[in-house]
């Protein structure tokens, strides 16, 4: 098919059509999965890939999962070449063959036009359990992959539409919770939705036209990304950030160092000087770390660029094996996704001087908890990740406040709070508070996004709480005169009056019923001098109860008349002059 036969309208119809399909696959996952991690918080991704595994389109509810699907798809296409049939389904989670995290288990389904393999549909979500030593999967004591998870290299679980029951049973005999089976069935269903729709689309336009127009789509996307990169001055930019506590050695600190080289329409992120891997589970895999790099960079370019293979072509990411961002076999790596926030910090610090209008100040780092136990109301086990509690604020930009209660940068507002009533339907816990955290936003001409305070009363028996994250040592950083923000914190107030403050990578067993779980997720960093923030804006935030009178005075130099929320102009002028 010659260039002249390309129908430009059809290119955009195909592009939008692919997006509609992955969105529909995503809806299928959201509507049919059991674990609240998937159906409420949307910790999953769906995508379509061509026969070679190149990305056609993705729906990225949680971008950190997204950019490992294409490498795994290429891997499956390669090792199963000649052995792929209509009706097959493959499972995969193995972090040493391009997986991003053990709990993120993917289903892949090949799509055929007649006898020709034309594409793959894939769905990947965070499973409520994946075997290993700890229920729910986060084992801060792990030193090797087998202590954290069941490894699933690319295996065929359905062949030509027939379930391979022996393979299926082997996998699920090693996973604690029966709902994981159901959620993997939901992934297969989502792939089937993708298969049905894409087959219909290819039948309509013909395979040859589809392929030709796909290539035009890749080319135009690549050109868009190249134009964006050309907008950054050529040069080498360096940044770094810290990772605190490897889950084993108190006080341990690791440094991520990135060197970003921009040359015309090409950009390279080089992590060669990053610290060596840890001997615990605080380690990244190549694909989780590269996903982090991509999603951070994508926030600095035109948000309308389509997400397909053309987008990633002009971008190189170098992460030597043996570093904390790309640990060698057989290291433990479950924490790897959560190295995204410090990785993003390093990239932002590197590019802030040259792209001051495209970067944000620092985002609140993730600190998360997962509770498991038995729900006596149903006489059944549950697993819940407390998404509503982890969502702190984003960093401010050169002309906007940060986004309140958005959550870590690797999701950027794509994962949602559990609905409060559904939380109480699905766990034996009882929610007491979920509100903006007062004074949590980093002050600035533009303030960071607000953090959040969450309290729930633990119910049920055999409760285990696992924490994973960071941000309890260093808060989100400010930029260009903006201030940093508050720290993350999780504590357990037991019925007997004792209080336990969890570390950032903790495993707490036998939490008694009646314990009050208290979590503070910090705000985002501020941008620009807080003394330049209009006093009226500060006053209104005092009135709304998200900034205290003391903070208005100390951080912003805004004084209010006692007992009112009127601005004391004279005192404000004096304070602002003196600060």
């Amino acid at each position: 098919m010659s260039r002249a036969d390309i129908d430009k309208v059809l290119v955009s119809i195909i592009a939008r059509g692919l997006k509609a399909i992955t969105d529909e696959m995503s809806l299928s996952m959201e509507k049919t999965t059991r674990s609240p991690i998937l159906c409420e918080a949307r910790d999953f991704v769906t995508g379509l890939y061509d026969a070679e595994g190149r990305m056609l389109e993705q729906t990225e509810n949680l971008p950190i999962l997204s950019f490992s699907l294409s490498p795994v798809c290429k891997h499956i296409a390669e090792i199963y070449r000649g052995n792929v049939f209509p009706g097959d389904v493959f499972f995969h989670n193995d972090v040493f063959t391009y997986g991003n995290q053990n709990n993120d288990v993917a289903a892949f389904k090949p799509i055929f036009a007649g006898d020709t393999l034309v594409a793959w549909a894939a769905a990947k979500g965070h499973m409520a359990d994946i075997g290993g030593a700890v229920r729910g999967g986060y084992n801060p004591n792990a030193t090797e992959v087998w202590q954290e998870a069941l490894r699933i290299p690319a295996v065929k679980v359905v062949e030509r539409g027939e379930l391979r029951k022996d393979v299926w049973d082997l996998i699920f005999a090693n996973i604690r919770l029966p709902i994981v089976q159901e959620d993997m069935r939901a992934e297969i269903g989502s792939c089937t939705v993708g298969e049905r729709r894409l087959v219909a689309m290819i039948e309509k336009y013909g395979l040859e036209r589809f392929e030709a127009h796909k290539q035009v789509l890749f080319d135009s996307t690549r050109k868009m990304m190249e134009a964006e990169i050309r907008g950054i001055p050529n040069g080498v930019y360096e940044g770094e950030s810290k990772v605190y506590f490897d889950g084993k050695t108190p006080g341990s600190v690791y440094t991520i160092r990135v060197k970003i080289e921009v040359e015309d329409e090409h950009i390279t992120f080089d992590y060669s000087d990053t610290d060596a891997q840890t001997n615990g589970f605080v380690n990244g895999t190549y694909t989780s770390s590269a996903s982090a790099t991509l999603l951070t960079f994508l926030q600095m370019v035109n948000p309308d660029i389509p997400h397909n293979d053309g987008m990633v072509e002009p971008i190189d990411i170098v992460i030597p094996e043996g570093t904390i961002l790309n640990a060698s076999y057989p290291a433990a790596t479950t924490f790897g996704n959560h190295l995204c926030p410090p990785n993003a910090d390093a990239i932002i610090r590197a590019l802030a001087p040259v792209l001051p209008e495209r970067v944000t100040a620092g985002w609140n780092q993730l600190l998360c908890s997962l509770s498991t136990g038995r729900d006596p109301r149903k006489d059944d086990d549950y697993v819940d990740i407390l998404f509503m509690g982890l969502k702190g604020g984003s960093g401010a930009t050169s002309d906007c406040d940060g986004y309140d209660h958005i959550g870590m940068i690797d999701a950027s507002g794509g994962i949602l709070d559990q609905d409060y009533e559904m939380f109480e339907q699905q766990t034996p816990h009882h929610l007491e508070k979920h509100e903006y955290l007062v004074d949590s936003a980093g002050p600035g001409r533009f303030r960071g996004g607000l953090g959040v305070e969450t309290r729930y009363r633990v119910g049920g028996d055999g409760t285990q709480i696992v924490t994973f994250g960071d941000g309890d040592v260093e808060g989100a950083f400010g930029l260009f005169g903006g201030h940093g923000s508050t720290l993350n914190r999780i504590e357990l107030r037991h019925p007997d009056g004792t209080v336990y403050t969890a570390t950032s990578k903790d495993l707490v067993s036998d939490v008694p019923a009646g314990t009050l779980y208290v979590q503070e997720a910090g705000g985002g960093g501020g941008y620009g001098d807080p003394l330049e923030r209009p006093a009226e804006q500060v006053r209104r935030e005092v009135e709304d109860g998200i900034v205290t009178r003391e903070a208005a005075r100390d951080a912003y130099g805004v004084a209010l008349h006692p007992g009112t929320t009127r601005i004391d102009e004279e005192e404000t002028a004096r304070l602002r002059g003196a600060m």
């Binding site: 309208v9 119809i13 939008r16 059509g17 997006k19 509609a20 529909e24 299928s28 959201e30 509507k31 049919t32 059991r34 159906c39 409420e40 159901e182 069935r185 939901a186 269903g189 989502s190 792939c191 089937t192 939705v193 729709r197 689309m201 309509k204 999603l295 948000p303 944000t360 998404f387 509503m388 984003s394 930009t397 002309d399 906007c400 406040d401 986004y403 309140d404 209660h405 958005i406 959550g407 507002g413 794509g414 949602l416 709070d417 609905d419 409060y420 009533e421 559904m422 109480e424 339907q425 009882h430 929610l431 508070k433 979920h434 509100e435 903006y436 959040v452 709304d544 109860g545 998200i546």
Partner: protein, 694 residues
């Protein structure tokens, strides 16, 4: 027997459209300028126009009206412009920010300048009180009535006009909310007060608090408006029934909508698809795209199988409304859309609109910013002496001057080229809106006829269709008032829902029948109050079902007989099929039990519908209808040419007109561009086919 009238009135941002059906199979349309300060003024002006056209005085005319169906956007505009009531929220202590947080979503993942929505109730008026139910409705802590009283006092001091009450788990037991409702109503007798257990008694706190807050926010606005309209109509001797259009595509009595004003939030375009379906069905088709371009907004929707798609929840300005509504995409593009030059020096159109006041520059009502209609006038599409049938004289010089100064000079173009640029940009914006309802859902717009509605729609439709390569357009004879027509074709319709959470295996059919019966009785009572005889009432039931331990439900329509007969197997089988169709698999063989969450009933009261009049047959030659010619812009050739002008009222069925041509009707002008040929069908619709023009 005296002629009796049925009237549809659609109040838009710029124009108020009226459609009259009569007991003598006569139809008539009228269009007047909207009066946003008090929309009832425009409504009465429209009625006066219809009365005068029929040679009757207003009182006699109004006295002969049996039914007025009224579509109003007062609630929609209140939300979009943030002109709703000063509202307070009384909620459970500890969760007062849920309304603003919107579950922590940022819709644009990669755009760090994408801001959260300003909440309709600011934090200082969101107050928490003690009192708590558990997940099943059992009381954990009694409601602190004193705290409720204090909250009401604080809100009163803050000058609120409306209060929403939404407590955790109130879907399971409304007792706390109802107690608080009484206290707040007593403390604030002048305020509009509503509770989530009345507005939307279903599980999911965020959906409920958002819907209830919106309901309160627009309650006083709708109440005041409908009160004033009712009084004015009664003052004229109106003794018929006034019905209000709802977002679900059905109509209801004013009292019913004032109790749940949130049901009208997206009602503006909701009658369009019904009317469009009637016209394409007359041509033997069931599917179409409907576009409606008025003065302020452009609505696009898709009709399949004769009906518009329905959703159980939706959003207005990114705020959740969990009530049934038609699936319609709205963008800010209309005849009033203002042209401007952005910071990058690019020409933009809208979304700001000149509205009815001051209106486009050419209206001569003080507008200074050039709008789309000004461009249409400069391009020769409109006759300055025949706009709205000659009732609104247009100031062509003023329009030229404004475009010259604000668009042409900054861009370094002549006036005509600047006007053509405005025309092109707004057409591209609207084409994008059509993509939203088709391409974005993986559908090819080229496969659907485009039904054109709205006063400005038929001037722009050809270019929208060309951009999307849509080969066929249908312009109904009543296109400029299509929503008003749809209102007379819409049935009375009420949606009810109750939460009943149970594994399907343990389902107590008596309890289910009880709930369905209760809702049907409620529906019957409302329909009877609306004057619908029992023989015209029917009810449809649906169950929100899922596999046990799933989180989200499938709304499965279930025949009432299946519920009556307790036919669990048939319901389960239908659920498995639907789950597979939607989500690619089912778990029938696995033997997974189902779980019921909600029970829904829709009560429908069928109304008498006017029949579409037919047109006399003529030959292909439309020469007899030519009324003149004028210079107009032909976009395909980027040049002005002399174009024939036809009198729409003189056209006969079978007439063919090759583009470029203008067809003038009293309230709208159709521009047939050079790529299209128009032919008249038996109902007076212009069917435009690509090809055959010159």
């Amino acid at each position: 027997m005296t002629e009796r009238f049925t009237i549809g009135v659609d109040v838009g941002g710029t124009f108020t459209d009226l459609f009259l059906g009569s007991s003598e199979d006569r139809v008539e349309t009228a269009k007047t300028l909207s009066t946003p300060e008090d929309p009832s003024v425009g409504v009465l002006a429209g009625l006066r126009r219809l009365a005068t056209n029929g040679g009757l005085d207003l009182e006699t005319f109004v006295g002969r009206i049996g039914t007025i169906v009224h579509g109003t956007t007062v609630t929609t505009n209140a939300v979009l412009t943030r002109g709703g009531a000063r509202t307070g929220l009384v909620t459970t202590r500890g969760v007062r920010d849920a309304l603003e947080m919107r579950r922590g979503i940022r819709e644009e993942r990669y755009d760090n300048r994408f801001l959260n929505v300003e909440p309709i109730v600011p934090r200082r008026r969101r107050l928490g009180v003690a009192g708590r139910l558990d997940h099943a409705g059992a009381e954990l802590e009694p409601l602190d009535l004193e705290a409720v009283r204090q909250a009401a006092g604080r809100l009163g001091d803050a000058g609120v006009e409306a209060v929403a009450i939404c407590f955790m788990n109130a879907f399971a037991d409304p007792a706390h909310e109802q107690a608080a409702l009484r206290v707040v109503r007593e403390a604030l007798p002048g305020a509009y007060v509503c509770a989530s257990s009345d507005v939307l008694p279903v599980v999911r706190f965020y959906n409920r608090v958002s819907t209830t807050a919106l309901n309160a926010y627009v309650g006083p606005v709708l109440g005041d408006y409908l009160g004033s309209l009712t009084r004015k109509l009664q003052g004229l001797g109106f003794g018929g029934v006034l019905l209000i259009m709802q977002s679900n595509g059905g109509v209801a009595l004013p009292d019913v909508t004032v109790a749940r004003p949130a049901t009208t939030l997206l009602s503006g375009p909701a009658a369009g698809p019904t009317a469009a379906a009637a016209y394409v069905q007359a041509e033997g088709q069931g599917d179409c795209i409907v576009v409606d371009m008025g003065g302020t907004s452009f609505d696009a929707s898709l009709v399949r199988g004769g009906a518009a798609a329905l959703a159980n929840e939706g959003e207005i300005a990114r705020l959740r409304i969990a009530l049934p509504m038609l699936d319609i995409t709205t963008i800010g593009a209309g005849g009033g859309s203002i042209g401007w030059i952005d910071e990058g020096g690019l020409l933009r159109m809208g979304p700001q609109s000149a509205g009815a006041i001051p209106g486009p520059v050419c209206y001569g009502r003080g507008g200074e910013q050039p709008a789309c209609t000004d461009a249409d006038l400069v391009l020769g599409y409109l006759d300055p002496d025949y706009f709205a049938g000659g009732t609104i004289p247009l100031d062509a010089e003023g329009a030229r001057h404004a475009i010259e100064r604000r668009i042409a000079e900054p861009l370094g173009l002549d006036v005509e080229a600047a006007a053509a640029g405005m025309y092109r940009v707004i057409n591209a914006n609207m084409a994008h809106g059509v993509r939203e309802v088709t391409v974005k859902r993986g559908l090819d717009p080229r496969e659907f006829p485009l039904v054109v509605a709205g006063g400005a729609g038929s001037l722009h439709a050809c270019m929208i269709a060309l951009e999307l390569e849509i080969p066929t357009l249908v312009v109904p004879p009543t296109s400029s008032v299509l929503c008003a027509v749809g209102m007379l074709l819409s049935d009375l319709q009420h949606d009810f829902v109750r939460t009943y959470i149970t594994p399907f295996g343990d389902l107590d059919f008596d309890r289910l029948r009880g709930l369905v019966g209760e809702m049907c009785r409620e529906g019957n009572a409302q329909l009877r109050a609306e004057g619908v005889p029992a023989a015209r009432c029917r009810h449809e039931a649906a169950l929100d079902l899922r596999y046990l331990k799933q989180y989200h439900e499938v709304t499965l329509p279930v025949p009432l007989e299946a519920i009556e007969g307790g036919d669990a197997e048939a319901v389960a089988a239908a659920f498995h099929r639907e789950h597979d169709r939607l989500y690619g698999y089912h778990l029938e063989e696995e033997g997974t039990d189902l779980e019921l969450i909600n029970v829904r009933v829709r009560s429908i009261g069928r109304v008498e519908k006017p029949t579409l009049p037919t047109l006399e047959e003529g030959g292909a030659d439309a020469g007899a209808a030519v009324k003149g010619e004028r210079r107009a812009y032909v976009p395909e050739r980027e040049a002005f040419e002399t174009v024939p002008v036809y009198d729409g009222a003189q056209l006969l069925a079978g007439n063919r007109i090759a583009g470029p041509a203008l067809i003038e009707r009293v309230d709208t002008t159709l521009f047939v561009s050079a790529s299209y040929t128009a032919s008249l069908d038996t109902h007076g619709s212009c069917r435009l086919e690509n090809g055959g023009g010159s």
